[in-house]
């Protein structure tokens, strides 16, 4: 059981000593019970920090923003940034470090274990509350305790947890500078890739019916891309409007942009966008689930990423974000990689 005071104390201490220039964490948000990301830069703000089941956000996104901002104002980081990271978030940070996005010493990871639970799925909760609103939620062992107008309501976490947390194999940030909470790796809430396995049991036709429905609905708002820490490219290959013009941009670069897809949000282009995204996240996605949570039209994006994650794991023995010095999925190979599909 994590005591929030420990996290606050750590943040306060480091900011006081000037060991970090900021702490990226969660604070109480302005909308109901939900937490929101915060960037605190002074010891006095440490008491804002919270840790509860609504801390969904993968804060490593803000490490990416931070680096981009520094690059924009042409400044070097004077001190590291501390960040509160769950298991999946910490793995994202590892992938970013694998890709040299920042160095290990640039980041101080305040690890938080999800222990026996994980984060909340708002939609699941809404069903349980029957229209009532919760103003607060807290971890309590295997339960989540909600504060509602009618008083306290206790629910087993398993009933209202996000699917990805139920399927999570390693609910613990292995890469950390300091960590709070117990390592409950090996807890078995639901089999890994359970939802994926159920989906795949359907035939080709049924799968296409499912996906064509969702591909039709995608509005290409790019929320999934915006919220993903791995989508840190300045220019997205499948959305060339975000063209980076830097001092190094040549006329040739400008002339050689490829319009892999058109901008209109129609099915064929949506498919190409979402599949490209899945390919580009293969071996990099750590299943933080933010893309799916951010999607305004509820495209089950996680399923695509999950599929790639499982193939990487089962075919190539690959775990995303396992170690900073480890290989990347598509730039490496093993002699024993499957080849029986090749004629």
């Amino acid at each position: 059981m994590i005591n929030i005071q420990d996290i606050r104390e750590t943040a306060r201490d480091m900011l006081t000593k000037g060991e970090v220039r900021a702490v990226i964490g969660y604070r109480r948000g302005s909308r109901g019970m939900l937490a929101e990301p915060t960037f605190i830069t002074s010891a006095e703000q440490a008491d804002e920090l919270v840790w509860d089941p609504t801390c969904f956000h993968n804060l490593s996104l803000y490490l990416v923003h931070d680096r981009k901002f520094l690059a924009h104002i042409r400044k070097n980081a004077e001190a590291p940034v501390a960040i509160v990271a769950k298991g999946c978030d910490a793995r994202s940070i590892v992938v970013l470090m694998q890709e040299h996005y920042f160095k290990r010493e640039d980041v101080y990871i305040i690890g938080v274990s999800c222990e026996g639970t994980g984060v909340l799925d708002e939609r699941k909760l809404a069903k349980h509350l029957n229209g009532a609103q919760a103003s607060n939620v807290a971890f309590d062992g295997g339960d989540f305790v909600f504060t509602t107008a009618e008083g306290e309501k206790r629910l087993p976490a398993r009933e209202v947890m996000a699917d990805r947390c139920l399927e999570c194999r390693i609910p613990f940030p292995r890469e950390h500078n300091i960590v709070f909470g117990e390592d409950k790796t090996g807890r078995q809430l639901e089999a890994p890739f359970a939802a994926l396995t159920r989906f795949e049991a359907q035939g080709t036709g049924a799968r296409w019916d499912f996906w064509s429905h969702h591909f039709d609905r995608c509005i290409r708002c790019f929320a999934c891309r915006s919220v993903c820490p791995m989508c840190y490219c300045d220019e997205c290959v499948v959305d060339s409007i975000t063209f980076p013009v830097t001092t190094e941009t040549t006329a040739e670069d400008k002339a050689n942009r490829i319009r892999w897809i058109e901008r209109s949000a129609v099915r064929s282009e949506n498919i190409t966008y979402l599949m490209t995204r899945a390919m580009h996240l293969a071996g990099r996605c750590t299943d933080c689930g933010e893309c799916e949570r951010a999607c305004p039209v509820n495209v089950p994006i996680r399923l695509l990423n999950n599929k790639m994650e499982r193939e990487a794991r089962e075919q190539f023995g690959f775990e995303p974000g396992a170690s900073i010095g480890g290989p990347s999925l598509v730039a490496s190979f093993l002699d024993r990689d499957p080849g029986d599909f090749i004629r």
């Binding site: 890709e99 040299h100 996005y101 840190y232 490219c233 300045d234 220019e235 290959v237 980076p244 013009v245 830097t246 190094e248 941009t249 040549t250 670069d253 002339a255 050689n256 942009r257 490829i258 892999w260 580009h280 290989p327 990347s328 598509v330 730039a331 490496s332």
Partner: protein, 650 residues
């Protein structure tokens, strides 16, 4: 970007293309392309007038790029690029659209063939639209060569190269050079003594100031590319100092270990310390580490005790030597097809059934029987000998599909040698066809049949087995339709030639292709028969295909000429089709660095940087980069994208 002015030149190739592709329609369609300023068709574009007309058209129409729709780029890409250069435009703005091998020759429906030819041509026109003028990258050349394999092919190639003043490293796996030819008794069609012809060349190799001879050595690793290879050679220890060894033979007398002598095809035995042949080069004994009791004076040490020259050193260690060379000749030779595969002929388990090489050793004055033809089982002179041709050859269902080419001739030679050694003996030859093309070859076979009274039986042998101390041969004479049964004293099998053991491995090390039969593949069957697909690596001898000695020597000379031509240049032009980073898009993630097979990319200041001297232009980086931030010049992702579009345009 100003609009390109591309010229499209459609070749009829006589009727090779024109018969199944409507060339006029291809030209007309290409004329409709936005960037095409000129089109022309011609019956033979690669002919002198054809090439001239291209030059003229480039000049007259101020073309800046060229597409020739014709045969495979492997044939005439260079022709037309050189031609473009003659017309004053950059050669890398010229591309070939292959509408012959990949279209007209494989489709006989003219409408469909034409449609495909248009798609292919259009895709290449679109590609050329974005081709950049590039200058070849000049690299210095290492003026040294390596020859792998010390048989007649390797010896000839090494001597020819060395005589041109270029240093050669000759690497041989065995303890002596000489290869298969050194095992032969006499050679067809002149019946001159094989060793008498070969030995002087071997000595010349040894004495040649420009040849560095490395026997008992294996090529382990090859890096680099044409002009600058770096080769790691593993030199196994012989435990005998060749400079001190006086070949006095005292060591073999005392050596207590007896093992089969592989140089005599196991017809005799040798000691753990041995010299392969009296004529071996280097003239030195070799201590077989696997057979020796332990390289330890406590265990045995007899040879070391008896060696007055002090040549034996048990502490000698194998070593790995790195050699930098500019070109490599592969002359790794052949082996005989394994008799064990020939179950119907006893699978190598029937006594007195020999292979051709073993028979050579029986005939050889320096061989197992000092030149007397004696059958192995009882050392008696065989009075009836059956020679069987095409054993394992020309049998696509069960064995090798190809003709081993030399068996007709050497079997005739064997029959003649046999009659010379055993004048009252009788020789039978089972054959399918007699293939005796070659200077003096047909006459040689005829003499064998007529003068030596050899009985040629056209047919296959179905079975061999021991019967009353002889080998019973069951066969058919297809000319008379009779079954034939011969009780032979000895049977000699003309086994198929196969690539020598280790060919697979060495081909992998060298990154050169092999053909469907496992022989080293030449770059083009007619026009580039001594070049491998990889630049700077050449082929000689039976490693490339079955061939006899004169052909081998000729090919070795040709390979040497190629090497000399290559290494006589001060610098080489490397292909400029190498990777280029779009720095504005590179985030420095390092995936390209990880994917590059040539360690040609590094991160510098957070961006990928390509080492132009190491990049081979494979494009692994480009397909791995998530940001399309790295591309191979003139094969960019944008170009491929536009080619895809062209292929699918209705």
């Amino acid at each position: 970007m100003t609009k390109k002015r591309t010229g499209v030149f459609v070749c009829h190739c006589g009727t090779n293309i024109a018969a199944t592709v409507d060339v006029a329609k291809v030209a007309k369609e290409m004329a409709g392309e936005n960037t095409v300023a000129f089109t022309q068709e011609y019956v033979y574009m690669c002919s002198e007038p054809g090439q001239e007309s291209v030059v003229q058209a480039i000049k007259d129409n101020k073309l800046d790029s060229v597409v020739v729709t014709c045969c495979s780029p492997n044939l005439h890409e260079k022709t037309f690029r050189d031609n473009a250069e003659r017309a004053g435009i950059n050669n890398f703005t010229c591309e070939i659209a292959n509408i012959r091998e990949q279209c007209s020759w494989v489709h006989n429906d003219k409408a469909k063939g034409t449609e495909k030819a248009i798609k292919i041509s259009r895709s290449v026109v679109r590609r050329v639209n974005r081709n950049q003028a590039l200058d070849a990258v000049a690299v210095n050349v290492t003026r040294r060569a390596m020859v792998i394999g010390g048989g007649i092919a390797g010896i000839q190639a090494a001597l020819d190269i060395a005589n041109a003043g270029i240093e050669v490293v000759l690497v041989e796996k065995q303890a002596t050079i000489g290869g298969r030819m050194l095992q032969l008794s006499e050679t067809f069609p002149t019946l001159d003594c094989s060793q008498c012809v070969l030995s002087p060349k071997m000595v010349e190799v040894k004495r040649h100031p420009k040849i560095k001879l490395m026997t008992y050595s294996d090529v382990q690793e090859v890096t680099g590319s044409v002009g600058n290879f770096r080769v790691k050679v593993h030199k196994r220890s012989t435990f005998v100092d060749p400079d001190k060894c006086k070949i006095c033979d005292h060591c073999t007398v005392v050596c207590p270990v007896v093992v089969p002598n592989e140089y005599e095809l196991n017809l005799t035995a040798r000691r753990a310390i041995y010299i392969p042949y009296a004529q071996a080069i280097p003239a030195s004994f070799t201590l077989d580490e696997d057979a020796c009791l332990g390289l330890n004076p406590v265990v045995c040490g007899k040879c070391k005790d008896v060696c007055e020259a002090g040549a034996i050193d048990y502490d000698m260690r194998s070593q790995t030597v790195v050699e930098d060379v500019g070109a490599i000749v592969v002359a790794t030779g052949f082996d005989l097809y394994d008799q064990a595969n020939m179950q119907e002929l006893g699978g190598g388990k029937i006594e007195d059934v020999l292979d051709g090489l073993q028979f050579e050793r029986l005939c050889s004055a320096s061989g197992a029987t000092q030149g007397h033809v004696l059958r192995p089982s009882d050392h008696k002179e065989p009075k009836e000998v059956v020679f069987i041709q095409c054993v394992g050859s020309r049998d696509p269902a069960k064995h090798c599909a190809y003709c081993s080419k030399i068996c007709c001739m050497y079997t005739a030679k064997h029959a003649r040698l046999y009659k010379k050694h055993v004048p009252d003996g009788r020789a039978y030859v089972f054959y399918i066809d007699i293939r005796s093309g070659g200077k003096g070859y047909e006459e040689f076979v005829q003499r064998t049949m007529e003068d030596d009274d050899t009985l040629y039986l056209r047919g296959r042998v179905s079975k061999l087995y021991r019967h009353n101390g002889k080998v019973r041969v069951l066969g058919t004479d297809t000319l008379t339709g009779q079954n034939v049964e011969i009780d032979a004293d000895m049977v000699v099998l003309a086994l198929a030639m196969v690539p020598s053991k280790g060919t697979t491995e060495i081909a992998k090390v060298l990154k050169i292709g092999r053909d469907k039969d496992g022989f080293m593949a030449e770059a083009h069957p007619k026009l580039r028969p001594v070049e491998s697909v990889t630049g700077g690596i050449y082929l000689a001898g039976a490693a490339q295909a079955p061939k006899d000695i004169p052909e081998t020597v000729a090919q070795a000379g040709a390979a040497a000429a190629k090497v000399i031509a290559l290494l006589s240049q001060a610098t080489l032009n490397r292909s400029p089709l190498i990777a280029k980073v779009r720095r504005s898009h590179c985030t420095g993630c390092g995936m390209c660095v990880e994917a590059c097979p040539f360690i040609a990319i590094r991160l510098e200041g957070g961006k990928a940087v390509v080492n132009e001297a190491l990049c081979e232009g494979c494009g692994s980086c480009s397909a791995t980069c998530l940001r399309a931030a790295i591309d191979v010049k003139n094969v960019t992702q944008l170009q491929i994208y536009e080619m895809i579009e062209a292929c699918l345009a209705v």
